[in-house]
Symmetry: C2
Subunit: 143 residues, 2 copies
């Protein structure tokens, strides 16, 4: 039931990771360690935080008076960081399931951790992910 | 910059909403009030909670010993509920922006509320949504 997913390493350039999210319109990327083990998920909304200058995050009314010349600066800013710099301190661990777990086991983990996707492992290797909507497709009768 | 999005009313059958999430592989649906105003987002992961019996949520090890005949029962269970029954008590309000807000204003709201999408309004009407990855596409230089 797993589906292939694009992954990025912890030391990949942050701008490249953001461009991958943008091009494929992904809600999140799977971040892996150098041995390929899943480390965390990086939601696109977490990357958006780095587009916003700190003083605007503190006072959102300032956003109104800023000009739109942001793209280059956002690109520069991200280009000087790595994926590991984008992960939130309370990083969301990517819940992992085994490729032979049942739909109910996967649903139970997803429900408990309120996560939008889980990593699927076989012999310690990431073989793909299952998103919440994919799980609904597998579990519900078709109409 | 807004993109069209499927919406469901608060009183739509919960199974229908879940099937819509599944068929279109959506991470979330926009829930609207009877006057069309956005009310909340319903993430697919929230719907997954209703696939899992309460005693399994309390003791996930029980998932391992359950059989896979879950689809029909999950369908029955959802079919007797409405969308409003699926929303979590601490329901996530859908942040709304105006159709003429700047990219930075949208990014600031998304960053502050850590939400994966925002509703876009024009003259009090929902005209679409902007997801986090769509915002990255708009804000970043292409490679």
């Amino acid at each position: 039931m797993a589906e292939p997913t694009p992954v990025v390493g912890l030391d990949v350039n942050a701008l490249e990771a953001a461009q991958l999210l943008a091009e494929r319109r992904l809600p999140a990327l799977v971040v892996v360690e150098s041995n390929g083990a899943p480390h965390a998920i990086l939601p696109a909304s977490q990357v958006v935080r780095f587009l916003v200058p700190g003083y605007v995050r503190d006072d959102p009314t300032l956003a109104r008076v800023m000009t739109e010349s942001m793209a280059d600066r956002a690109g520069e800013k991200l280009g000087s960081k790595r994926v590991r710099d984008l992960l939130s301190k309370d990083r969301r661990e990517l819940p992992a399931v085994n490729h032979d777990d049942t739909i109910i086991e996967v649903a139970a983990i997803m429900a408990r951790l309120r996560c939008p996707l889980v990593a699927v492992m076989r012999n310690g290797e990431l073989i793909g992910v299952i998103t919440a909507s994919r799980l609904l497709e597998l579990a519900l009768p078709r109409r």
